[in-house]
């Protein structure tokens, strides 16, 4: 649905918002777990499968079917809870959240209510040199819903509209992580929100519990934003913005809501407590699903599932499987890579820390890994407006391309073409090199002939080199490379020239 122009609200200038108001944030992040099967049934969870091909009587909510908890999902929930510094409940239950919606097969969602599996954690973030402590209220387990697609008929004939529903996603395990109110961020509120979500993304990846691909919805953020007059302690009325599907959007959406609410409040108006929808394309929020007063979800303990009571021994064991804490992790990499502080901060800022780490692990030097991710690949991500990690190239492939360069099979210029090919889905770097015929000519006889021709065509340059002016070789190298259309190893060309002319 496009946004009707009439609903575009006034915005208060950001600086003015901060002169008069203090923002308070609350972030709810849904993480889709990367278990092989769904939360309560054995259907696969693969993204992008044909519609309604990963469903069974259980996740379709058919009469008579019953849920059974995926033990791996509980394990992931506990590990996430521990990594967020939470206490793990000794005993907790699932509850039914009752509301009608066509994408929810049972018309209740199996979730956790007053007994979540993890409570009271904390996360530390660094934003622009300042440290922020984000309190974690809870993390709980629940199931995802199906996906409905609105079908409108052009011409907007009233009534000629319906939806079609695919339940492949219904029942995929979710962990919902809820912060305590985040105060004291001031002007940095949007960046803190972004940094928090980025932190969770990195943490989930390090735990290997989720694909955390925001563009595929495996990490979703709902941003609660409210403003209160400076000096006030009571919270203002908040809005909950949904559909925030990238790190950049998190930052933009929070900033937008601050300006929108600021304008309302500054004009003496009131903020409506409501759900709003973020529009990536237009950069605004609009009112979402209307909520008749406060929805009454009629939660009660799920009678078809028995309580979860993780033994302390199990929790302890899972505690030993946690990755090192992010701060310690960064410190270790900083020391290992030998970057300057500035270089290292750029890597983090670009969201490339784990990508560079993985590329190094796959055999590239830290400098080479950084060069590609922050240069060539960052440029392409920006062009196509996706996150760096959403590019369809893996750290291992980047390392492979660098290895081809190091082996003299391609040069940097050709490497860029290999990136093109891999990103276009033409296969592995080796395959792209072969298919596109990108390998540098390493056949000395072919190269030798080109070198001979270059010497013949530039006798005066050749004479200088014979006379010991090795630096003059550049002109001959250029001529050879031109003839070879760039597909030659410049170092080898230089060697051949010097050899032929008896220099060195």
């Amino acid at each position: 649905m496009s946004t009707p122009a009439a609903t575009v609200p006034d915005l208060l200038d950001y600086d003015e918002v901060l002169e008069r108001f203090d923002p308070v944030l609350g972030l709810e992040v849904h993480v889709e777990l990367n278990t092989l099967t769904k939360m309560f049934c054995g259907c696969p969870t693969e993204f992008g499968a044909p519609p309604n091909s990963q469903v069974c009587p259980i996740c379709l909510g058919m009469p008579g079917s019953l849920p059974v908890v995926n033990g791996k999902a509980v394990e992931s929930a506990i590990r996430i809870g521990l990594a967020l510094g939470c206490d793990i409940a000794e005993w907790c239950r699932f509850a039914r959240k009752n509301y009608f919606y066509p994408d929810m097969p049972k018309n209740f969602q199996i979730s956790q209510y007053d007994e979540p599996i993890a409570i009271s954690g904390e996360v530390e973030l660094e934003v622009e040199g300042q440290t922020f402590k984000i309190g974690i209220e809870r993390a709980h387990m629940e199931e995802d819903t199906g996906k409905s697609t609105h079908v409108g008929v052009t011409g907007r004939i009233h009534g000629a509209e319906y939806s079609i529903v695919d339940y492949n996603r219904a029942g995929i395990p979710l962990i919902e992580i809820v912060t305590k109110p985040i105060e004291g961020t001031g002007a940095l509120a949007p960046q803190v929100a972004r940094a928090y979500v980025a932190h969770l993304r990195d943490l989930m990846r390090a735990l290997d519990v989720s694909d955390v691909r925001m563009e595929q919805g495996s990490l979703r953020c709902d941003a609660n934003v409210s403003l209160r007059p400076l000096g006030e302690t009571a919270y203002g009325l908040r809005t909950e913005t949904k559909n925030v599907n990238s790190l950049r959007s998190v930052e933009r959406a929070v900033r937008y809501e601050m300006c929108r609410q600021g304008a309302l409040l500054a004009a003496g108006g009131k903020v409506m407590q409501e759900t709003r929808h973020w529009h990536e394309d237009t950069g605004i929020t609009t009112p979402g699903r209307s909520k008749e007063q406060a929805e009454d979800y009629r939660y009660f303990p799920e009678p078809d599932l028995v309580p979860v009571a993780p033994s302390r021994k199990w929790v302890e064991e899972l505690g030993t499987t946690l990755p090192e804490p992010p701060a310690q992790h960064r410190k270790r990499l900083f020391e290992a890579w030998g970057f300057t502080e500035m270089e290292f901060r750029d890597v983090i800022g670009a969201g490339a820390l784990l990508l560079v780490e993985a590329t190094v692990a796959a055999g590239a030097t830290p400098a080479a890994a950084r060069k590609w991710w922050l240069g060539e690949l960052a440029r392409r991500a920006k062009e196509t407006e996706v996150e760096l990690d959403a590019l369809s190239i893996t750290p291992a492939q980047v390392a492979e391309i660098q290895a081809l360069v190091d082996a003299g099979k391609i040069n940097d210029k050709l490497a860029r073409e290999v990136f093109d090919g891999v990103l276009a889905g033409e296969g592995s770097p080796e395959e792209v090199v072969a298919a596109r015929g990108l390998a540098v000519v390493s056949d000395d006889s072919a190269l030798g002939a080109a070198v001979d021709r270059a010497i013949e065509a530039n006798p005066d340059v050749a004479e200088k080199i014979r006379g010991g002016k090795v630096a003059a070789a550049g002109a001959l190298i250029g001529a050879v490379m031109k003839e070879m259309r760039g597909q030659a190893d410049a170092g080898r060309v230089r060697e051949l020239i010097l050899e032929r002319l008896g220099a060195e």
């Binding site: 009587p57 379709l60 909510g61 058919m62 009469p63 008579g64 079917s65 019953l66 849920p67 059974v68 908890v69 039914r96 009752n98 009608f100 066509p102 097969p105 049972k106 018309n107 209740f108 009233h158 009534g159 000629a160 319906y162 939806s163 529903v165 009454d296 009629r298 939660y299 009660f300 009678p303 078809d304 599932l305 028995v306």
Partner: protein, 497 residues
Amino acid sequence: MTDLTKLTAAETARLIRDGEVSAVDVAQAHFDRIAKVDDRIHAFLHLDTEGALGAARRVDEKRAAGEELGPLAGVPLALKDVLAMKDVPTTCGSKILEGWRPPYDATVVQRLRDADLVILGKTNMDEFAMGSSTENSAYGPTRNPWDTDRIPGGSGGGSAASVAAYQAPLAIGTDTGGSIRQPAAVTGTVGVKPTYGGVSRYGLVAFSSSLDQVGPCARTVLDAALLHSVIAGHDPFDSTSIDQPVPPVVEAARAADVRGLRVGVVKELGGEGFQPGVEQRFNEAVALLTELGAEVVEVSCPHFVYGLPAYYLIAPSECSSNLARFDAMRYGLRVGDDGIRSAEEVMSLTREAGFGAEVKRRIMIGAYALSSGYYEAYYGQAQKVRTLITRDFARAFEQVDVLVSPTTPTTAFRIGERVDDPLAMYKADLCTIPSNLAGNASASFPCGLSPDDGLPVGLHVMAPVMADDRLYRVGAALEAASVQRWGHPLLEEAPEL
């Protein structure tokens, strides 16, 4: 030639095993009986003639091939229409599921198939198992074979009536507040509600998940035990299924021995509101157990009287959520989809048209009891009462091995008598409800005809969790002694249909 429909399940299976009759002939005899009497009884909603005869044929082939047959192989069975059976209509007695054919089998159905039982068809019931008379079926009431002007009990009236009317020697019922036991009592048959978690609920269309349990209906105690042992046992598809060996129910039914068994008569389940004829037959049954060597004492379970109100909060609460899925989007009825109305409107119109009055009543009671502001006073308090009732049982079972009471306060009432008086209807389950709340095993066994109206009376026996075998011990002893006293099984006194 013997009337194949009058045999017990155990006898039928033996004759088939010995090659004296074919399973196909047995199935056909029952279809003939159904064709003859079911227009007056209306026990069945759907017959699966083809599937049943196919299953019977496979049993005969197995026998011919010299394969070993199970203890109930080839025995016909009637299945309550609340259990999912692949590709066979499953309506739960509701219009909202008209035409729905599940793409899967309930675990119980799978076990019946694996044991080579022959499923004749699906039996009538109160809509979504809500009721005590089978009058709440969207497809018309089932009638009691003892008196076709009277109710056969409910919700499983179809299953009990089919067994009582010799349309099937065995049936499967489900019991949320008495839906197996109360129909058994008023039709003079045997009905057992196993321990909660003893039989898988996977594929049982839920009414109240924490109370529902699947169990056997039969004409004899041994038949019920044989069926019980086929359907019981752990199922990984039901999280509330107990992972323990099935109690030795068949052995107990064969032993039929109550010597030294301590029997407690529940003080609170009798007196005011109980039909004198019912109390008389109950007392005689207790006296008979004493004669047979049981030690009978009176036991008090002070919170049982709160079972009824607690039940009528818990069951509606769970049902309001369980029945939310019937929303016209993925299966079943859809009403009012004119291309203009919203999904929400179509849901509301469909549920209005597809649910009967009792279902609507309970959904709304449940929505109310779970609402914020009322939760603690209603649902929360009912769950606490549930704890107290469980404690009453625990204390009682420290003193005695089983508890007994009449199964129902009255014999079968007349069709239409209580239709518009929900509270009067609910009272039929007074004695049976505590066992659903506590999850323990219970059963109803015939104990004679009430002298005031000549209708069957049931003895209700309650045993601790996973002590289901004690029910069969008592039932079988009572059955043997009663049949000896009467000179024939009780059902032979029922009028010819």
